[in-house]
């Protein structure tokens, strides 16, 4: 397709109805997605489901800079939802660019002219990316927020360290991580457990925190540990590793244990133990022992899907202080 004007004209034409009026375009943000061919299908599906609650212009860049020949292929579509009894159409736009060869090394020259003015730009990278690649940095510099998924990284510890460094770099967007977003129900639930004042001692006299995670869940577990430690003002003093188990001595005499479960079937679990009480939270159950009394009940902490996680991230703007603090501790673990 012809350049930027051609794309804009075509998008407007797609909103033109048979009665000569235009369907409305509603947008609250620009969503810039960088992915490779393998993820293209999933990305498109997630975005079309998001359009109802986060009407936006999505610009999806599928790049392959290793391809021998230069090629640009443009696909555009509008998604019109029909809310309310009167069935008015509200449309979101999706522009997908397949870029191969030399041009794929400077994706920013495609993204810049397509971004809608006056609206924030959120960049989402569903796959593993290299934060150091120059093309990536120029692109990221255009965004207000960058959303990654640390679980796609081959080496979680390394990813945490890179991301912790990125957070402080001037000129770079605020960072978000879907693994952190997935912890939101856990953080909210665990924080609320310690709202009753009579449980204050349990936090002050913390002895042990144990996190059991699924094989792919190390990043999430590190962030959860980072969150608890940073919120309670603790930091790692020594570490030990044997196989899939990690053990740390935190300041204040607290022991932290991370252990990988044998399979995906077992539910992730967090154990928080003090002298007088213990709190055991897993995906489906809560077990509290306080003195000699034990209570158990059902809770609901299953992780939402990628679409919901991304949707949650899109409602947040600015700097996520609690995340950055957790990330910094996680990077030291």
């Amino acid at each position: 397709m012809r350049g930027v004007e051609g794309i804009e004209r075509e998008l407007a034409r797609m909103r033109l109805r048979s009665d000569g009026l235009y369907d409305l375009r509603a947008s609250v943000l620009n969503l810039l997605v960088v992915a490779d061919e393998g993820l293209a299908g999933e990305v498109s599906e997630v975005i079309s489901r998001l359009s109802g609650n986060h009407p936006s212009r999505s610009i999806i860049l599928i790049t392959d800079s290793g391809a021998p020949e230069s090629r640009l292929d443009v696909q555009i579509s509008t998604m019109c939802n029909v809310p309310g009894p009167e069935g008015r159409h509200v449309c979101s736009e999706q522009i997908t660019l397949h870029i191969e060869g030399e041009p794929a090394r400077h994706p920013e020259s495609f993204a810049d002219p397509l971004l809608l003015p006056d609206l924030p730009a959120v960049m989402w990278c569903p796959g593993e990316i290299s934060l150091d690649a120059p093309g990536f940095r120029r692109l990221a510099g255009m965004a207000d927020r960058l959303i990654l998924d640390s679980a796609t990284a081959g080496d979680c510890g390394r990813a945490m360290r890179k991301m912790a460094g990125f957070v402080d770099e001037p000129g770079m967007p605020h960072l978000g991580d879907l693994q952190w977003t997935a912890l939101l129900p856990w953080r909210s639930f665990i924080a609320a457990l310690f709202d009753p004042p009579e449980r204050a001692p349990a936090l002050r006299e913390l002895r042990r925190v144990r996190i059991e995670h699924r094989p792919g869940g190390l990043c999430r577990a590190l962030l959860l540990a980072g969150w608890l430690a940073s919120a309670l003002g603790l930091h790692p003093e020594s570490r030990k590793r044997s196989g899939d188990a990690r053990e740390y001595d935190l300041s204040g005499g607290v022991r932290l244990e991370l252990e990988q479960l044998g399979s995906d079937a077992a539910p992730p679990r967090v154990l928080i133990e003090s002298a007088g009480a213990s709190f055991e939270v897993s995906v489906g159950r809560l077990r509290i022992r306080e003195g000699s009394s034990v209570t158990e009940r059902a809770v609901r902490l299953e992780a939402p899907g990628t679409g919901d996680l991304l949707g949650e991230e899109l409602t947040f703007f600015g700097r996520d202080g609690a995340y950055e603090a957790a990330l910094k501790v996680a990077a030291e673990l």
């Binding site: 409305l24 509603a26 609250v28 109802g52 609650n53 009407p55 939802n81 809310p83 309310g84 009894p85 009167e86 008015r88 509200v90 939101l184 129900p185 953080r187 909210s188 639930f189 665990i190 924080a191 609320a192 457990l193 310690f194 709202d195 009753p196 004042p197 009579e198 449980r199 204050a200 936090l203 969150w227 608890l228 919120a231 309670l232 003002g233 489906g284 809560l286 009940r297 059902a298 809770v299 609901r300 947040f316 996520d320 202080g321 609690a322 995340y323």
Partner: protein, 510 residues
């Protein structure tokens, strides 16, 4: 118990607003409001993970039931009165904290039993001495309940916890009874412990009026009498009274809609920007509007107020009966189903700008809107015949259905001649988000547990609203109405048109 404890895990701005642990006592637990609104809203909060893990509900009414019978009754209501499936796991953990005590709210001994029960919940559910007392029962019982609560020492939370009372509408039926009720309640609880609930303010669409006005610098400079010719506020229903005849006979349009919903819309439209969005700042500005509303003398009532009652007529494809033929309505009922008023807000901003407000049942369609009619442009440089179809600007805030704004602006007609005419620009901003909005009760229950009274009615707000309407009610009581005076499916009585036509204006068609 340690008095200063800060849960540092909470220092995370992205965590949802979750209230502290608490026990909610519902007086009137076997009643309609509990089944249709309160428990379903609490369940939805639990489902959204917005209720604290340590939370309990104690239902009270005279009907004999065990805890389990109450639970299964509530489970049925939750299935019936909200859309969407009830999740077993969510219900299970919510119902764990659901209790019922068969007690008579008039019986002093009942309150000792309640107090003991709440102490037990503090131990077993860690509800921390925090209590919310919800009056979902006949208004005549409110004074008795607050008095007994104080007598039993429950007007303060236990061990430093909080105690709040929630009072349902109606807040009296005239100024005297509203004052009396407020005095009785505040004799036993401080005003800052009292939450008067008008679910209208819990609606997202109503709150959006504030967002539109105070987050857009564009509107505020022209939001005054220098630019605005007049304001029209309409709350129109196409429905009749249906099954609520008995209730409506006692109320009428003035009490049912004007005193609360209409006055709230007037306040939100006319108020000054509050310094902050906290309860005192917002409510203070609203009360200032009510204080500025010009007093109507009894002599002026017939010139400034119109009432109506529907006769039979056609609404859409159905012929519907007149009000006096509705079930549980007197054959010669003098109750008004329509009211229109011309009000003035005598302050610097609004001096001389009339606010025409109207509400009615069985009107041509259901619509709630606020229309700001601007003055004509002071001078048009175009030749007289060039501006034939041009009318002054109108900004309409549509509250329902299809929440949004529309704006009428002048625009050039394409062609070689210079001709301008009015074009309606429609922006259904509500439609930009398909996200399901929380029910009004959900929002308000959460706010009240969090101790945020911004969206609740302050005593003086309720009283001042009654005071404005007092002369109208007196004259209408005294004088025999000529009812019915409008056909169902029309826009109300002829006299309402006359009320505004006299000023050289006319009602908009919403």
């Amino acid at each position: 118990m340690p008095e200063t404890f800060e849960n540092t895990l909470r220092a995370d701005e992205r965590l949802p607003r979750m209230p502290p642990p608490a026990a909610m006592v519902i007086f009137g637990a076997s009643g309609d409001l509990t089944a249709r609104k309160l428990v379903p809203a609490l369940y939805d909060l639990a489902d959204r993970r917005l209720l604290p893990p340590e939370f309990a509900v104690v239902g009270i009414s005279r009907t004999r039931m065990s805890h389990d019978e109450f639970r299964s009754r509530m489970r049925e209501s939750v299935g019936e009165f909200r859309s969407g499936k009830v999740r077993d796991d969510v219900w299970g953990s919510f119902a764990r904290g659901l209790y019922y005590l068969p007690l008579d709210s008039r019986d002093p001994a009942a309150y000792d039993e309640l107090r003991r029960f709440l102490a037990k919940l503090d131990r077993e559910h860690h509800t921390g001495g925090n209590r919310v007392f919800y009056m979902a029962t006949a208004p005549t019982l409110f004074p008795v309940i607050v008095e007994r609560l104080e007598a039993a020492g429950m007007n303060e939370g236990e061990g430093g916890g909080f105690a709040r009372v929630v009072v349902e509408k109606p807040f009296g039926r005239d100024l005297a009874s509203a004052r009396e009720l407020n005095q009785k309640i505040t004799h036993h609880f401080r005003e800052d412990q009292v939450y008067r609930i008008d679910h209208y303010l819990g609606k997202e669409t109503v709150q959006n009026i504030l967002a539109l006005r105070f987050s857009n610098a564009l509107f505020e400079p022209v939001w005054n009498g220098r630019f605005v010719d007049h304001v029209q506020i309409t709350v129109a229903e196409s429905l009749g009274v249906g099954e609520r005849g008995a209730f409506y006979e006692e109320a009428g349009a003035l009490r049912d809609i004007v005193q609360n919903h209409m006055m709230q819309l007037l306040c939100l439209t006319a108020m000054e920007p509050p310094v902050s969005f906290d309860a005192e700042s917002v409510r203070e500005e609203k009360v200032k509007v009510l204080r500025a509303v010009r007093r109507i003398s009894e002599e002026e009532v017939n010139a400034l107020a119109v009432r109506g009652q529907y006769a039979s007529g056609w609404v859409w494809d159905r012929e519907v009966p007149g009000y006096r033929s509705e079930p549980k309505v007197a054959g010669d009922s003098p109750t008004e189903t329509f009211a229109a008023l011309k009000l003035f807000v005598d302050n610097w901003r609004w001096a001389g700008v009339p606010f025409y407000v109207r509400t009615g049942k069985r009107l041509a369609k259901g619509a709630t809107e606020i229309a700001i009619q601007f003055r004509p442009a002071p001078h048009t440089p175009f030749a007289g015949d060039a501006t034939g179809g041009l009318e002054p600007n109108v900004l309409v805030i549509r509250v329902q259905p299809d929440e949004g704004i529309s704006f009428k602006i002048g625009s050039k007609v394409p062609g070689s001649r210079f001709r301008v005419r009015s074009v309606n620009m429609d922006l259904p901003y509500g439609a930009a988000f398909l996200e399901e909005r929380p029910d009004a009760y959900e929002r308000l229950l959460l706010d009240l547990m969090l101790g945020d009274a911004t969206l609740f009615i302050r005593a003086d707000e309720a009283e001042r609203s009654w005071e404005i309407l007092e002369p109208v009610m007196r004259v209408w009581e005294r004088e025999e109405p000529e009812f019915p005076n409008y056909a169902a499916g029309t826009w109300g009585p002829e006299a309402a048109d006359e009320l505004i036509r006299r000023d050289g204006r006319r009602w908009r068609r919403p």
